[in-house]
């Protein structure tokens, strides 16, 4: 892996991804072996938006490597409330920590922040943009359940604003993966992402659908995201599509027995609780995988094995 910062999954090659996933698998097999590996190291957590899984799994990962975290806390209790810029905030916290994790509501925030710091910076979500560490744990989960080559995956829900979807799509284009995107017309993939997948990533095999029905039987993996009610200007428009993008046991009768169902969480009603009890459900395993994957990533970056950036 040759990066100082992890900003988007577009920057990650197949080799980069495999390096992280292989290291994560080693750590998952024997976490005690790395328990003191980064004793004394500090990770700075800068979350300008609410987060449960991402923030806590980074915190857990750092502590399981023997290190600790310094947490900016909520925006309301920080100097951001006084009008401090993001550029200043990261320059200050850079002096306290050995690496930074940033979540911010603005697209491009991590790219900009990385231009102001020398310590490794990990993008934990920038608005509707990217979420590369989520993608790495998604890929880890997919590899464990279905393998990453000769893969047929359906990605369904809010594809327009879903940063996990954008990052996953870019990363999957490194592999022999057929990607099927299922959403209402109003929540299709941003044209920028489609452009990249078709133009820049020649290997990507991408199709867009409005209905899950036609594609479900061929899927190895179904990756579901929440349709965000708050994005719809008209409640009736939301109601038209919400039910169609709900998964329950009846829906999955048309799926292969070995279909893996994933979701970055939190879910609301897009996956019925009855699916949790089936062999299809992998979303809690997926969330748990965030710890070894983030341990692997932090280990690579803090050990200097991130190397020099290619850029």
């Amino acid at each position: 892996m040759r990066h100082d910062h992890v900003i988007t999954s577009k920057q990650l090659s197949r080799s980069d991804i495999e390096t992280v996933l292989d290291r994560a698998a080693e750590i998952a097999d024997d976490p005690a072996a790395v328990a003191d590996r980064h004793a004394g190291a500090l990770l700075g957590l800068l979350f300008f938006e609410p987060s449960t899984r991402t923030k806590m799994s980074f915190e857990t990962a750092m502590k399981r490597l023997g290190g600790d975290v310094v947490d900016m806390g909520s925006v309301e209790s920080s100097s951001v409330k006084k009008g401090e810029t993001l550029a200043d905030t990261v320059r200050v916290i850079e002096g306290y920590a050995d690496a930074l994790v940033l979540r911010h509501p603005k697209q491009g925030a991590a790219t900009m922040a990385s231009e102001f710091v020398d310590v490794p910076l990990l993008n934990a979500g920038d608005g509707a943009g990217h979420h590369p560490t989520q993608t790495l744990l998604d890929l880890y989960t997919i590899r464990e359940n279905a393998g990453l080559d000769d893969l047929t995956i359906g990605i369904m829900g809010d594809l327009k604003y879903g940063r996990t979807v954008h990052s996953l799509a870019y990363a999957l284009s490194n592999f022999d993966a057929h990607q099927h995107f299922i959403s209402p017309e109003s929540l299709r993939l941003p044209r920028e992402v489609v452009y990249d997948l078709h133009q820049e990533q020649e290997r990507a095999q991408v199709r867009e659908h409005e209905s899950l029905e036609e594609i479900l039987p061929s899927l190895d993996v179904l990756y579901v995201t929440r349709i965000q009610r708050e994005r719809f200007p008209d409640e009736t428009e939301y109601q038209k599509v919400a039910g169609e993008y709900q998964i329950d046991a009846e829906t999955l009768e048309a799926a292969r027995d070995d279909l893996t169902v994933m979701h970055p969480l939190p879910r609301v009603d897009e996956i019925a609780p009855e699916v949790d009890e089936t062999d299809h459900a992998a979303y809690f395993e997926q969330a748990h995988n965030g710890v070894p994957v983030r341990m692997a990533l932090l280990d690579l970056l803090l050990s200097g094995e991130g190397g020099e950036t290619d850029e």
Partner: protein, 155 residues
Amino acid sequence: MSDDGDHKLRVSKIRSGTVIDHVRGGQALNVLAILGIDGSEGEEISVGMNVPSDRLARKDIVKVEGRELSQDEVDVLSLIAPDATINIVRDYDVVEKHRVERPDVVEGVLSCPNAGCITTGDEPVSSRFEVFDDAVRCSYCGTIVREEIASLIDT
């Protein structure tokens, strides 16, 4: 006399400075905006708009007296005036003549149209756009703009 020659009678010669020729019709004011020229610093500027042209049918022409534009400046013009030719004039003679070239990147020239982009806030960062053959793309949020690039000019 060609149409290109005829327009020279409409817009007087300059002594020293830059003549930006073969600007697509209607883009002259955007050319001035993209160069940050608004006349407030006393520059002497002549503008011809929608004059006949052999090459473009209708074109604009901009003459800036007393100022030689840098290569970086004129390359930025390629975003809205890809056919433009640049003439550097000294003592009424054209001493350099060249076409604009599309740069790989432009910084601090365009504003990102995505309200959710970090560059639209109060951060100490200039906009940066990658330049494609038929579009520009924000280096921060990834937004691609194909049309109406002139409307993004940061004036």
